[in-house]
């Protein structure tokens, strides 16, 4: 038996130092305390324009409660040593690949980084790597479940998002939902990403 990677190395944007982020199970209590009550009331956002943030009204505690007992759902948070949640994700392991018909994948139900880590909101983000790290963690989960690392997600087509996904080999499948574009990472590209990160 072997374990899936349980921590993510983050980059402190102020000092450049590396910080260990711990991946923990996200339950409704943690979601309520450290996301719903914490993220959008942070002092760093005092002068930020939050109107364009799609997740501003997400109720993480309610969403986690909905998914937490489903067999294929994985509700996770990334915490720094000060116990602050830097990012959170819900992945579903019963996804169906569009690129590789008949194959399964992990689909991202939702993922968000803490608003103080978004360069679109704050002049000085705190950490880099939290969202990308959780995404890569889901690729690991997909691999560990025999799904080849395949990953599927819906994203708004911002310039940064398009560049990020294309650089890693994600492919647009043509599906759309609520103005979001569906991307999929096929097995070959997923395994290459894992190899690039020294995970396999």
């Amino acid at each position: 038996m072997f374990a899936i990677p349980h921590s993510i190395i983050l980059s402190d944007c102020q000092t450049g130092a590396e910080v260990d982020g711990e991946i923990v199970l996200l339950d409704p209590a943690l979601a309520k305390k450290s996301i719903d009550f914490a993220w959008w009331s942070d002092s760093s956002l005092a002068n930020a324009n939050l109107a364009g943030e799609e997740d501003r009204h997400w109720n993480w505690a309610a969403v986690v409660q909905k998914w937490r007992y489903k067999t294929y759902a994985e509700c996770l948070a990334l915490r720094t040593p000060d116990k602050a949640v830097q990012a959170a994700v819900i992945g579903l392991a019963n996804g169906s690949s569009l690129l590789e018909k008949g194959q399964g994948c992990v689909i991202v139900e939702r993922l968000a980084t803490a608003p103080w880590n978004r360069e679109s909101l704050v002049d000085e983000p705190r950490f880099r790597g939290s969202g990308t790290g959780l995404l890569l963690h889901l690729v690991c989960l997909s691999y560990q479940l025999g799904l080849g690392g395949r990953l599927s997600l819906f994203s708004f087509p911002t310039r940064d998002a398009i560049k990020f996904y294309e650089n890693r080999g994600f492919v647009k499948t043509g599906e759309t939902q609520d103005d979001m574009i569906h991307y999929e990472l096929a097995e070959g590209k997923a395994l290459r990403w894992l190899e690039q990160k020294g995970l396999r």
Binding site: M1, S96, T113, L147, S155
Partner: protein, 91 residues
């Protein structure tokens, strides 16, 4: 003293998903209810995600197994699926 690394901007991955997932992007698989034990969850997920395994491991009854036996079962399943260990524990 270590040389500080160059300052970098925030994460390029901000928000993903949160929309309704179309039914055809999800597989209709058995649900096992609330499973507390992580080992049970991993084994059940693997068997449900790979139906051809259910025949090979049809004698497996988790409730009759102790943790070491479950770990052996998991190793057998991973070997059957050619899943190899990760090389490190940090991303």
């Amino acid at each position: 003293m270590a040389t500080p690394k160059k300052k970098r901007d925030g994460d390029p991955v901000g928000v993903i998903g949160g929309c309704e997932i179309p039914a055809h992007l999800l597989r209709d698989l058995p649900e096992n209810g609330s499973i507390q034990d992580p080992l049970d969850k991993q084994i059940l997920r693997l068997i449900n995600l790979h139906p051809h395994l259910s025949l090979k491991f049809r004698g497996a009854k988790l409730s009759d197994m102790d943790p070491p036996t479950k770990k052996l079962l998991l190793e057998d399943i991973q070997e059957a699926l050619a899943i190899k260990p990760f090389r490190k524990s940090k991303i």
